[in-house]
């Protein structure tokens, strides 16, 4: 115990003396939590739409006005010909082209139906399909408007129709912040926590101080605890800073219990720091450690369920997500913060992540050798 006290004392002295570490720990998460959620926004806006209007009639103009007034579309001009419109797509100036044929109004009035052409630039698949959906629903709306004007009210009431009323649970306004902020916070804790732990030990290797420790009677477990505890505390501090930002800036107050959040964060940090320690035992230089962390962080980032739902990943990818601790924390964060889940709902997650922590830390202790 006494040895551990000296190890901890030394570690904290060094952490507070490190001019790069503290800003990295606090300023980075603050800035990133302010910027990232704004950028990681799935609401597709500003779709560039070019309307090729061959008709130039009041109805065609009304249709175009309706589309642009929706707020999702941005006019990228009214090309005079189809060829010109295609050129706009090629130059990436237009995402969607709406072609209103000649005689649109005439045919609409006389025959009661008309076709319009929609061409979509599908390089960005999400933008293309979402844009197409928006456009389709505006067109069908327009369709209804016209029918309302032309048909007698009595006839409409006779028409059977099903109206769909949706209500969105847990995030009624479908605000992306609410969905993204808890996830991004987890990601930041992971990035900073994992990085700090791994680099810290590797730095001792590089400088040679670890050898001076290895020649003392300090036990491996004491040394590792002396590294784990300070970074575990710092990880919790970063997590707290993040929660405060989520509350102050985004107004996100966890629906579920805050102590439960910390319980899970504590277990998660235990596993995460074990992972950092493990990387440090396999690297000789900070450069090596950094590139290993980079590799894993990329995988965590793309497969942890932060940006894309795990459920829609292919089966083999879903298997991988089961061994990535971050995927459990992101899920638990969203469960507790948005749904107000209780301890029973996350017992499974706690169990899995805790086991991971035991394995990772155990592996790190085994792999850390005082004697080569």
């Amino acid at each position: 115990m006494r040895t551990l006290k000296f190890l901890l004392q030394k570690e904290f002295l060094q952490i507070f003396r490190n001019k790069a570490l503290l800003p990295m720990m606090f300023i980075a998460p603050i800035i990133q939590l302010l910027i990232l959620p704004q950028a990681a926004n799935y609401t597709i806006k500003n779709i560039n739409l070019s309307v090729v209007d061959f008709d130039h009639s009041p109805y065609s103009r009304r249709l175009a006005d309706k589309i642009f007034s929706s707020g999702y579309f941005h006019s990228s001009g009214y090309p005079a010909s189809a060829a010109e419109a295609i050129r706009l797509i090629e130059k990436d100036k237009a995402d969607i082209i709406l072609t209103i044929p000649l005689g649109f109004e005439d045919k609409l009035i006389k025959e009661g139906s008309q076709k319009v052409g929609v061409q979509v630039n599908a390089i960005n698949g999400v933008k293309a399909s979402v844009g197409n959906n928006y456009l389709s629903s505006i067109l069908s709306d327009f369709n209804n408007d016209i029918r309302m004007e032309w048909l007698q009210p009595s006839r409409i009431s006779n028409q059977p129709s099903i109206e769909i009323v949706s209500s969105y649970w847990y995030n009624p306004m479908l605000t992306y912040y609410i969905f993204m902020v808890p996830g991004i916070l987890v990601f930041l804790v992971t990035l900073i926590g994992g990085n700090m732990t791994a680099l810290n030990i590797v730095k001792e290797k590089e400088v040679g101080t670890i050898e001076q420790i290895n020649v003392t009677p300090v036990r491996k477990s004491q040394f590792i605890l002396g590294k784990l505890i300070p970074f575990w505390i710092l990880g919790n501090v970063i997590f707290t800073v993040g929660l405060l930002i989520a509350w102050l800036v985004y107004g996100i107050i966890p629906l579920g219990s805050i102590p439960l959040l910390y319980l899970f964060a504590g277990v998660y940090l235990f596993a995460l720091l074990g992972f950092g320690l493990l990387i440090s035992t396999y690297s000789e230089t900070q450069q090596q450690a950094n590139s290993m962390i980079f590799l894993f962080v990329m995988i965590f980032n793309l497969m942890g369920g932060l940006f894309t739902p795990i459920e829609s990943m292919p089966d083999w990818a879903q298997v991988i997500t089961h061994v990535i601790p971050i995927s459990y924390f992101i899920e638990v964060m969203r469960m507790i913060v948005l749904k107000g889940s209780g301890i029973r709902d996350i017992l499974y997650h706690i169990g899995v992540v805790f086991s991971m922590g035991i394995i990772l830390n155990g592996w790190a202790i085994l792999n850390y050798r005082k004697t080569s």
Partner: protein
């Protein structure tokens, strides 16, 4: 020295292989209590590897060795309680102050708060570091750093202290002071095991061994070696032996 010399380090055909490379090749020697034992050799001769095996930092590939009566294979952690070690590379914490370093190392060697207080005040006083006690070690001149390292390695009054090229890059005056400290330690009963490639320093040792290509080629007192090789000084002894080396220096 009397006949009832207590053996503190005993090595018997101790070897270390790294793959095909034999860094240390069946070295055998004894080091006695209170002795200053010099370990000489060119760069890459295997001095540091041999020393690391004795300190429990590296497991031997074959052969036997005991340090302070403890087996290097079975009791490396016990050995660590009995030894002090100062590596080639300065390895105190540069981002801690002089005082904090002393406190830390004294603490992990298990000294009590009272001992730590006394020892650190005493140490700082002897080194004349009163003004620097609260400054970061990073800012100290190299000579002072080395003297501080040695003092820290001796803090817990080990039976044996291992010094790996302690005076590398240090000016002659500081080297002299450093050797005064080594003598002081030896007089108080600590056995000193020191590697060096400064041949004038070899004269300060009670006995020296000269390593060439992983083997101990000569082991005697400085006078004894001069006589055997009919040399005027250690330089000549060393050149006669080192000429045989085939291994490239690192």
């Amino acid at each position: 020295m009397s006949e009832t010399k207590e053996v503190l380090i005993h090595a018997d055909k101790l070897s270390k292989h790294f793959g095909d490379f034999v860094a240390v090749d069946e070295i055998s020697f004894d080091v006695y209590k209170g002795e200053i034992f010099g370990f000489l050799g060119a760069n890459g001769a295997g001095k540091t590897t041999a020393m690391r095996m004795l300190c429990g930092l590296s497991t031997p590939s074959s052969g036997q060795a005991t340090v302070a009566g403890l087996d290097v294979y079975r009791k490396p952690e016990q050995i660590k309680k009995n030894i002090g070690y100062m590596s080639q590379k300065f390895s105190l914490y540069e981002d801690l102050t002089v005082m904090e370093n002393i406190r830390f190392f004294a603490g992990i060697y298990g000294l009590s708060d009272k001992q730590i207080k006394e020892k650190s005040a005493n140490l700082v006083g002897r080194l004349g570091l009163e003004k620097e006690a609260k400054k970061l070690v990073a800012g100290l001149p190299l000579g002072w750093k080395q003297k501080l390292s040695l003092s820290v390695a001796l803090l817990h009054e080990p039976k044996i202290v291992f010094l790996d090229e302690p005076t590398g890059g240090v000016d002659p005056v500081t080297r002299k002071q450093f050797w005064d400290m080594i003598y002081e330690a030896a007089e108080s009963g600590t056995t000193v095991f020191v590697t060096t490639h400064y041949l004038d320093e070899a004269e300060y040792c009670n006995r020296i061994s000269i390593m060439v290509d992983g083997k101990i080629e000569a082991l005697d007192s400085p006078e004894g070696l001069r006589k055997t090789y009919s040399a005027k000084n250690m330089d000549e002894v060393f050149y006669q032996l080192a000429r045989k080396a085939t291994r490239q220096a690192d």
